[in-house]
């Protein structure tokens, strides 16, 4: 498995639904796949004491994030018999209602794809050096906190 190279996971701005469709479509040649599990993170218009979130501006320590994602990828491939996995995360401004995270895993049987997808999402939220700057309706900002 060591021939896999670190992939860039970052995507400038929101991830369009058409990009997701193209990614799904590409898997139609892989006829050993029986199930795809997809998680999409969408920017939520959270209302806090400082006001309502209208967008999140994402920054990342890209080099470290790509290295870290590569090691998560190796772990996931060695733990689950999946055929492939893809991760895309937005950088820059993403408006409420737009997609900022796209995680996609595929396998012969559904359980492995689902479990791998869930674990990828949990790990990337905890381990990737990415920060969300929440822009509020009055154009002030606050830093997103992951629970």
């Amino acid at each position: 498995m060591s021939e896999r190279k670190p992939k860039n996971i970052f995507h400038q701005g929101p991830i369009p639904a058409t990009f997701i469709a193209e990614s799904i479509q590409k898997h139609s040649t892989q006829i050993g796949i029986g199930g795809h599990s997809i998680f999409l993170g969408q920017v939520r218009a959270d209302v806090g004491e400082n006001g309502k979130v209208k967008a999140i501006d994402f920054t990342a320590f890209e080099e470290m994030a790509i290295e870290k994602m590569h090691s998560i990828r190796e772990d996931i491939f060695s733990k689950y018999p999946i055929t492939c996995m893809h991760v895309h995360h937005s950088l820059g401004e993403v408006l409420a209602g737009e997609i900022c995270l796209f995680v996609f895993s595929s396998s012969a049987h559904r359980k492995e794809a689902m479990e791998a997808c869930n674990e990828i999402v949990e790990r990337l939220k905890a381990e990737l050096p990415i920060w969300g700057r929440e822009i509020l309706e009055d154009d002030s900002h606050q830093w997103k906190v992951n629970k």
Binding site: T59, F61, M64, L101, L124, P129, I130, G132, W143, N146
Partner: protein
């Protein structure tokens, strides 16, 4: 030693900077002391430190050029 420092998240708000260069820093403990003197508010902020993309937890002696990043709690996804 020279340190190329990159500040992420709320640390760039506190310092008003995304990047800084600091000279004559022998180890990471000295770096933290220097920063706390320059920006007392940093003492109230939780963050990790990465030397060339590897997180370091203990005081580390610096050699040559050093890329150090200060990482507040992550909030991607």
């Amino acid at each position: 030693m020279r340190v190329h420092l990159t500040l992420f998240g709320q640390l760039s708000d506190i310092t008003g900077k995304r990047e800084m260069i600091l000279d004559d820093i022998p180890d990471t403990a000295t770096l933290l002391e220097t920063l706390n003197t320059m920006y007392p508010q940093m003492a109230n902020t939780k963050f990790a430190m990465a030397l060339n993309t590897k997180v370091i937890k203990e005081n580390t002696i610096l050699h040559g050029d050093n890329n150090i990043a200060l990482l507040p709690p992550f909030s991607g996804g």
